[in-house]
């Protein structure tokens, strides 16, 4: 009797154990799911994997690249069209190594070159969360790439050149806060995708990490995070960087363009400790150096004419908000004097702000932002060039003059 029941019990246990494991896998710990949701925010998955007015995480967003248009994939748990049949191992392989479950290569528009740093534990949490979002039956749209980029085997070459697989390794000589910031910025945050120069092959130049670059197809310049002449944050306080990342506005400047998307969909949801850690790490990226002297080159007759036209436009159209001496009324009317994004070598961002205006994102910390009016319909190319030249060189700013041609070219920039 006892032998029989023991045997039965063992039999039952054997039979039950796989079921239990499966059940556990299906209903993951709510704390893990919540952590996964948070980390998915940090990775900004939603921005690319959700189309305009589309179902959340169902993909289908068109991503224009110099090589053609990619359509993002469905990452809901639908078994036919999403990732419902994937295991956590397969999900990790995608995040860590940029490979589909069948071993196929993923186009590097998916930032696996950054996500490779994500720990297995965090990847599993994101996986657990994505299994809980509503499944959507929506087949992936085939990519529309031009020859020869429609040949996936080319990705092998790209990977050899630009992909370094490897989880994040903390630097024991640095603080826990710095390491956390490093992990978030370089890993899930995938900041380097825009803030590192892109070469002709669409690869980020690791030797120039965070040195800034023009974002292909969008015509916005992602400033250098290492040079204090650009958006190197060496001269910013931690508080100012935290405000910028979380609220979208700060005493030093506000976010517009593609960075507004990052704050809107991702950074505003991160907790104070994590944003602060990112700020500490970002501030540390800036390479120190004495501030440069104001340009002493005497203006030529032409640029002096440009400047006097620029000043009269500034006094008429800009000074009421940004102040007669460019001091602004921070954080809502950003200062222009001493503002690095005005003085960068690339004048793309200030020209675009004058032409198109813009709103910082509406965030929980700044729910009703103030907008910069567009001036494309009011100012001629010459006038845009004049006023941008003026704000780049007045009040001790050290930018170079811009030409009417530069202004004209950006009138055709894709807005949205």
């Amino acid at each position: 009797m006892s032998r029989t029941s023991t045997g039965l019990l063992i039999g039952l246990m054997l039979a039950l154990s796989p079921v239990t494991t499966l059940a556990q896998q299906k209903a993951a710990d709510p704390a893990v799911i919540a952590k996964g949701e948070y980390l998915a925010r940090a990775g900004d998955c939603i921005a690319c994997h959700t189309a305009r007015e589309g179902k959340t995480f169902a993909g289908g967003l068109a991503m224009k690249t110099p090589f053609g248009t990619l359509y993002t994939s469905n990452i809901t748990p639908d078994p036919q069209t999403g990732i419902g049949t994937w295991t956590s191992d397969q999900f990790y392989q995608m995040m860590h190594n940029g490979r589909f479950p069948d071993g196929g290569l993923v186009y590097p528009a998916m930032p696996f070159a950054s996500y490779t740093q994500v720990t297995r534990e965090d990847s599993d949490a994101i996986y657990a969360y994505l299994r809980t979002v509503p499944p959507v039956r929506q087949p992936n749209r085939p990519h529309d790439l031009t020859f020869p980029f429609n040949n996936r085997s080319l990705i092998l070459g790209w990977r050899t050149l630009f992909f370094r697989e490897g989880e994040f390794k903390p630097d024991p000589t640095k603080s826990a806060e710095w390491n956390r910031g490093n992990y978030l910025v370089e890993g899930l945050g995938h900041c380097g995708m825009c803030h590192t120069p892109i070469n002709a092959l669409g690869g980020s130049r690791q030797s120039q990490a965070f040195e800034g670059g023009l974002i292909p197809m969008q015509n916005w310049y992602a400033p250098s995070l290492t040079s204090n002449k650009e958006t190197g944050l060496g001269d910013w306080t931690i508080e100012e960087i935290v405000d910028y990342l979380r609220k979208g506005v700060s005493a030093k400047g506000a976010v517009y363009g593609p960075m507004a998307e990052v704050v809107y969909n991702s950074l505003q949801y991160l907790n104070d400790d994590d944003v602060r850690a990112m700020a500490v790490y970002l501030k540390g990226l800036a390479q120190g150096g004495p501030p440069e002297k104001a340009s002493t080159a005497l203006p030529s007759a032409e640029s002096s004419l440009l400047l006097s036209l620029g000043k009269s436009i500034y006094d008429r159209d800009c000074a009421s908000c940004h102040g007669a001496t460019g001091q602004g009324m921070p954080p809502d009317y950003p200062p222009l004097a001493g503002n690095q994004s005005i003085q960068m070598v690339s004048a793309v961002n200030p020209i675009r702000m004058v032409l198109n205006g813009g709103y910082p994102p509406g965030t929980s910390g700044n729910p009703m932002p103030y907008g910069m009016p567009p001036f494309a319909q009011k100012l001629s190319d010459d006038e845009v060039a004049a006023v941008v030249t003026y704000i780049r060189t007045a009040w001790g700013n050290r930018g170079e003059p811009v030409s009417a041609r530069q202004a004209n070219e950006l009138r055709a920039a894709t807005l949205n």
Partner: protein, 236 residues
């Protein structure tokens, strides 16, 4: 003692200085008003949403908040396409867009003087007929049936039609006919616009833009007009 005191004083002075500067900087803030927040709209729509000399940009002031809100959402989400608007609104919340809509709905700036009609009397008469009586033979309801006898619109989702220029009106009607402007289903304006001929569109635009400012610039209260067809933007 003196040796110790000196650096301490110097340190205090250094600490005090930045605080003073910070306080100086924080005193001048942007005005905490909606007008200041929506200044970005002013170059095209006027400082009070009254419209500008550019005929392609519509008057916003005094249109029902529900209508303005629907448009702001449609621009933000890319369903109504005009890149400068899509760009400006892309990262704003529903709550904020509602406040912007309510703000412009509450304004009552003066109407611009009506544009002297350049079209023939026959065209204007055709426009007036469609606006007031519709065209039963072609199944076209009168504009006034939904937009009100004074053409001031109806809460929450039907806009007023006065104070707009002919090119804007014909542009929007054209947008509905060709499917580039859409609204929530049933999209009644898509149905109405597709019944209009090009000449009808021209006539309606010419007549509406020639109308003087209404004596009472308010919109009709919700549900006060018996609408001849169902509209997704105007839930019953």
């Amino acid at each position: 003692m003196t040796y110790c005191l000196f650096p301490l004083t110097a340190l205090l002075a250094l600490v005090a200085l930045p605080i003073g500067t910070a306080q100086g900087q924080t005193t001048e803030r942007a005005p905490d008003t909606m007008a200041a927040r929506v200044l970005a709209c002013a170059p095209c729509h006027g400082a009070e949403g009254e419209g500008t000399s550019d005929a392609y940009f519509p008057r916003l002031a005094g249109k029902p908040a529900g209508y303005l809100y629907n448009q702001l959402i449609a621009f933000r989400d890319g369903r109504r396409k005009y890149p400068p608007m899509n760009y400006l609104l892309e990262f704003q919340t529903d709550d904020y867009l509602k406040k912007i809509a309510e703000y412009f709905a509450s304004l009552r700036p003066e109407f611009p003087p009506p544009v002297p009609p350049v079209d023939s009397k026959e065209i204007l008469a055709r426009g007036e007929a469609i606006v007031k009586n519709g065209d039963a033979q072609h199944g076209i309801p009168p504009c006034s049936a939904c937009h009100g006898p004074t053409l001031g619109g109806m809460e929450p989702g039907i806009p007023g039609l006065l104070g707009l220029r002919a090119v804007y009106i014909s542009g929007q009607l054209g947008g509905w006919r060709y499917g580039t402007r859409t609204a929530f289903a049933p999209d009644c304006m898509q149905i109405v616009a597709s019944l209009l001929t090009e000449d009808d569109v021209k006539a309606v635009a010419a007549y509406l833009s020639s109308r003087p400012a209404p004596a009472d610039p308010s919109f009709a209260p919700r549900g006060s007009l018996p609408m001849p067809l169902e509209c997704g933007s105007e839930p019953h």
